[in-house]
């Protein structure tokens, strides 16, 4: 039996838990823990330049690798700076463990220096939180934190650690707990067989079915099963923004993604469907538009690991509570050897869908002509070509995020890394760092805008320290594009504070950190600039690409309408 201080227990536990990276920023209440990290080589600590970046980097790492991201911050401002990142992870169900220093336990409640009640502050945005009350409970609490973060519907877990719990002078027995049990937490491991049978019968009888799948398939590692099931049945599939890549987008059965800025054919198919098979998706308002007009003729099968997601906004006809993977596998075995009963109707359904596809083909946006400003859409398409559609793409939030999701074609899950639920500007760049560190030999691109990038650009310094070779594609339209689009549509083009005045010279800024920057203003410059930028996978390159500031994202669902009510361009609507 080994005697360790609380701080050493934390370092040792992280090693025993198999944690590779921990993203953090030191400060008074976390110093004992930092000292313990200093005296070991197993867990690599990445020093960010702002705690929000630590959480986004850990989040990016978690999304790409499927393993929980780990963050270490100090009390007070250190912890409150992490709040946005915790909320981001919570909304997208990302496994994360956030270790927060806290003032010494005898000072708690006295408004001590750098004290905040971080458990209280984060309560609505965590899956669970713990406060350490005795050093000896550290191994068990940490194990519980990792277990909760990564099982069931994943999410962030905060562990509040008063400084005296990590004091080097007090030593206690350390044993790595291989397993923990929580009597009140038993995530479901499989769906109800009777319900799954009922669902499969509906699927085989359907005339106009659509699969609608979300992030639950990605986090549940169920992409292969899903692809198999969808191919076996020959049904169309649309995914949510969070579910992109769970089914290969280059396949004919994939209609793209759905919702507010989803594809025309996805939204039309959803509206006219007679059966919707929702898996790991939560009928979020950016998907359903007005729920009272949502898919009027469809029966709904809803599979989700979280019972509270089922029938939350749209009532399910066949609710199935269970993890996407095991439910899909069970569906596959029930479908095996059987054929759809209405093959003729399904053929007609496909004809209709292909008709919708044909209507919009070649009309999605107008590419720029020589001498005109580049369109952001064509830049994303060019990035997709130069990376052969295989890069990890992180985004920030706004128009560029939608363009990245629309025009980069993803054939693999975990490749589009974006803040779908919370919509956090500043997410993309630090998330890209987190991804790149665990996938150093892959292309990792942050597609961003000059507004979002400036929210986290201090992380260039982190990239310099650790040699992180991400590519940053800055779609520079000199405005907060999505805000501006809404102002065009709803406020008679009164552009209140959506114009970015006094932008820095990004070229000089990037060079100040010792990195390469390339400015692109014309169509001719684009391809060579991308070739140059992606030539070396280990070099950070920043592409400042001047794009048309007047471009809008379409399709765009008409507020309070049905799925099929869309603006298709500045002049067309359904």
């Amino acid at each position: 039996m080994e005697l360790l201080s609380g701080a050493d227990m934390i370092a040792r536990f992280l090693k025993d838990e198999g944690v590779e990276y921990i993203y953090g920023y030191p400060g008074g209440a976390a110093l004992h823990i930092y000292d313990a990290l200093f005296r070991q080589d197993d867990v690599k600590h990445i020093l960010v330049r702002h705690e929000q970046a630590a959480t986004h980097a850990a989040d990016g790492y978690a999304r790409a690798s499927g393993k929980p991201g780990v963050v270490l911050v100090t009390s007070g401002p250190g912890a409150t700076n992490a709040v946005t990142g915790i909320a981001t992870a919570y909304m997208d169900s990302i496994p994360m463990v956030v270790l927060c220093g806290q003032v010494m336990s005898h000072l708690i409640g006295d408004d001590a220096f750098q004290e905040t009640d971080i458990v209280g502050v984060t309560r609505p945005i965590v899956k669970h939180s713990f406060s350490i009350r005795h050093p000896s409970e550290i191994p068990e609490v940490l194990k519980k934190a990792f277990y909760l973060a990564s099982t069931g519907r994943p999410g962030p877990v905060v562990v509040d650690i008063p400084k005296d719990m990590t004091a080097p002078t007090e030593r206690y027995e350390y044993v790595y707990p291989k397993k923990v049990k929580l009597r009140s937490y038993n995530p479901v491991t499989r769906g109800h067989t009777g319900q799954i049978k009922k669902a499969v019968e509906l699927m085989l009888k359907a005339k106009r079915p659509v699969f609608y799948t979300g992030g639950g398939v990605v986090t549940g590692c169920a992409s292969e099963g899903l692809t198999d099931l969808v191919k076996k049945l020959g049904f169309p599939i649309t995914t949510t923004l969070m579910g992109i890549g769970a089914y290969p987008q280059s396949d004919k059965q994939c209609l793209g993604w759905l919702g507010m800025h989803g594809s025309y054919e996805s939204n039309m198919a959803m509206h006219h469907a007679d059966l919707i098979i929702a898996i790991g998706a939560r009928f979020d308002d950016r998907v359903t538009n007005n729920t009272s007009k949502f898919c009027p003729t469809a029966k709904i099968i809803h599979v989700d690991v979280d019972p509270s997601s089922v029938s939350k906004t749209v009532r399910a006809d066949v609710p199935i509570v269970g993890p996407a993977g095991s439910v899909i596998d069970e569906m596959i075995s029930l479908v095996q050897g059987r054929t759809v009963e209405n093959a003729g109707a399904l053929t007609e359904w496909w004809e209709k869908i292909d008709g919708w596809r044909g209507e919009r083909e070649g009309k999605l946006y107008e590419p720029s002509k020589t001498g005109e400003a580049l369109k952001p859409q064509e830049v994303v398409e060019a990035v997709c070509r130069v990376t052969r559609g295989e890069a990890f793409v992180t985004t920030d939030v706004g128009q560029h995020q939608m363009f990245a999701a629309q025009y980069y074609k993803f054939d693999k899950p975990n490749r589009l890394i974006t803040s779908g639920g919370l919509g956090t500007m500043g997410f993309g760049f630090p998330a890209a760092m987190g991804v790149k560190m665990s996938y150093p030999d892959d292309d990792v691109v942050c597609i961003t805008g000059e507004g979002s990038f400036q929210m986290m650009m201090q992380e260039l310094s982190t990239c310099k320290q650790y040699g992180v070779g991400v590519k940053i594609v800055n779609l520079n339209n000199q405005s907060l594009g999505m805000v501006r689009q809404w102002q065009d549509l709803n406020y008679k083009s009164r552009h209140a504070h959506s114009y970015m005045e006094s932008l820095p010279d990004f070229h000089m800024l990037i060079e100040a950190y010792g990195f390469t920057a390339i400015t692109v203003t014309t169509k001719e410059e684009l391809a060579p600039a991308l070739e140059r930028a992606f030539a070396d996978k280990h070099e950070l390159v920043f592409l400042d690409i001047k794009v048309d500031p007047f471009e809008h994202v379409y399709p765009m669902q008409v507020p309070l309408g049905a799925m099929r009510d869309m603006l298709l361009s500045k002049t067309e609507r359904t």
Binding site: R123, P124, S129, S131, S184, P307, S308, K312
Partner: protein
């Protein structure tokens, strides 16, 4: 519709705030709330009455069940149950009213638990409607102070809420 939800909760710091926080975060309504330890020191029993349609109540119970500190819960209003609330009331008891208060206390099978020359402190238990009726009856005499515990409840018959 009004529902009574009884919860066995981990007796941990912050557990109660998670339950209460859930109601305000998700815009649910708390009518009454009552919490105390049980015979098992590791558990508290919390009873909350709330108002909502079936969809809302379904969401409330699902979200409560998701809280790690919630060990078990039951919606008592789904079956036969016993519902009680305890109330302490200070009422004016002067002159002719002094006898009148005593008579009303007897009618409601309440008890006078403290006396001064000018007031009675009355203890009364029952369901919420009975307590409301008592307050209504006392209103003309003069109610000085009211302390209600909020609803506590338990299922009738063999059904037991335990681990």
């Amino acid at each position: 519709m009004r529902h009574i939800i009884s919860i066995l909760l981990e007796n941990e710091p912050g557990a109660l705030s998670r339950v209460v926080g859930l109601f305000s975060q998700r815009n649910y309504n708390i009518e009454t709330l009552n919490v105390a330890p049980t015979e098992d020191p590791s558990l508290s029993r919390l009873t909350v009455t709330t108002i909502g349609d079936d969809r809302v109540i379904e969401q409330i119970t699902k979200h409560l069940n998701k809280l790690i500190d919630v060990v078990k819960l039951v919606d008592l209003t789904e079956g036969n149950h016993i519902e009680r609330e305890l109330m302490l009331v200070k009422v004016k008891a002067l002159g002719a009213a002094r006898d009148e208060v005593k008579r009303t206390v007897d009618i409601f099978r309440a008890q006078i638990v403290d006396v001064t020359p000018s007031l009675y402190t009355v203890q009364i238990t029952g369901d919420a409607a009975k307590l409301d009726a008592f307050l209504q009856a006392m209103a003309p005499v003069g109610i000085l102070e009211v302390a209600r515990t909020g609803v506590s409840g338990i299922a009738r018959g063999d059904k037991v809420l335990s681990l």
